[in-house]
Amino acid sequence: MNSENQLSGLLRLQHILTWAVVIAFVIAIPVYLWNREFGINLCYISMFLLMSSALIRLGWISRHFRRTGQRKSRLLTLAIIALILLSILLTLTR
């Protein structure tokens, strides 16, 4: 299997995530203009979706490294996911 085929899953995932984020923001903006209180919650959900997209892609990359037997790179990927999650946890608990 060449590397282009290996990354086609990531490409599909990116397409889905991009459309999900764009649709979420396109809905959130008019709702915010119509009803600020409700709209702001939608804006937060859209932002959460955008931020999650990076974690989802990292999850895919970690699985890709596991499949291809690249242990060090996989550990580094998992460390990035852990760092982001830890920073969320630490900031929330301050």
């Binding site: 995530l17 984020v21 764009v22 937060y44 932002m47 997209s53 690249q70 760092l83 969320i88």
Partner: protein, 253 residues
């Protein structure tokens, strides 16, 4: 702030950034601070959110062309995320005028890069990952810190580092940088979001405006002669750098 004005300014900064292939952040932060008088930290946080969105959209094209090296992405993203999270925490304690002065210096650096940029032939050099580990780690950390504090993608550091230090071909350096900055920006943005610095109600219009402008700028950039565009942008960047620098000093005294 008027949503229509926000979308328009984000569209213009995305368009101009797309023409140069620099992303919208380099021009969005001066727009928000100089035109809308937004505090530097808030402008940086908003710009960083647009970097996340732009990276998601534009790295897809690089993935299609198989121009992303995931090992390079992960190597840069790991150390840069450490820097980004640290910067997200300390960013609140750094006075806005210092950040404005730092941004002015970064604009001067970007100007030099624009004027010196050459069109490289693809696959011209051999790959050499981890050739100079300490320099790579240092640049990654600096990228994370600068991108979070100033709200720029960090491509102006990652691309030259990948190309000149790690000997990656220019097109793979660009593709990998585009992907990596999305992850780095996420690491910085989560801290800004939880701290309340990131105004999510402004993020939507700005992101959509920048994405649309960046898309059009990218299309126009292919057709426009870079020899004409670059000096004009260099003048604009120097002007903005002077404005930001003077704004930073005026705030101080």
């Amino acid at each position: 702030m008027n949503e229509f004005l926000m979308i328009t300014s984000a569209f213009v900064s995305g368009l101009l950034g797309g023409l140069l292939g620099l992303g919208g952040g380099v021009l969005l932060v001066p727009f928000l601070t100089l035109v809308f008088f937004m505090p530097m930290q808030q402008a940086a946080a908003l710009s960083l959110a647009t970097v996340m969105a732009n990276s998601l959209v534009s790295s897809t094209e690089y993935l299609k062309s198989n121009l992303i090296d995931l090992k390079l992405v992960i190597l840069f993203s790991f150390f840069a995320s450490v820097g980004a999270i640290a910067a997200g925490v300390i960013g609140h304690y750094i006075p806005g005028n210092y950040l404005q002065i730092a941004f002015a210096l970064m604009l001067i650096h970007a100007t030099i890069l624009i004027l010196r940029r050459r069109d490289e032939s693809p696959h011209q050099r051999a790959r050499n990952l981890l050739a100079r580990p300490f320099i790579t780690i240092g640049i990654s950390l600096a990228t994370g810190i600068l991108s979070t504090l100033l709200g720029v993608g960090g491509g102006i550091l990652i691309i030259p580092a990948s190309y000149l230090i790690l000997n990656y071909p220019m097109n793979i350096a660009r593709g990998s940088s585009t992907f990596a900055i999305g992850i780095i920006a996420t690491a910085g943005s989560v801290v800004y979001l939880i701290h309340g610095t990131l105004r999510v109600e402004c993020a939507g219009p700005i992101m959509l405006g920048t994405m649309a402008g960046g898309w059009l700028g990218g299309l126009l950039g292919v057709k426009t002669k870079s020899g004409i565009v670059r000096p004009l942008f260099a003048i604009l960047f120097v002007y903005l750098a002077i404005k930001m620098f003077l704004g930073g000093i005026a705030y101080e005294f």
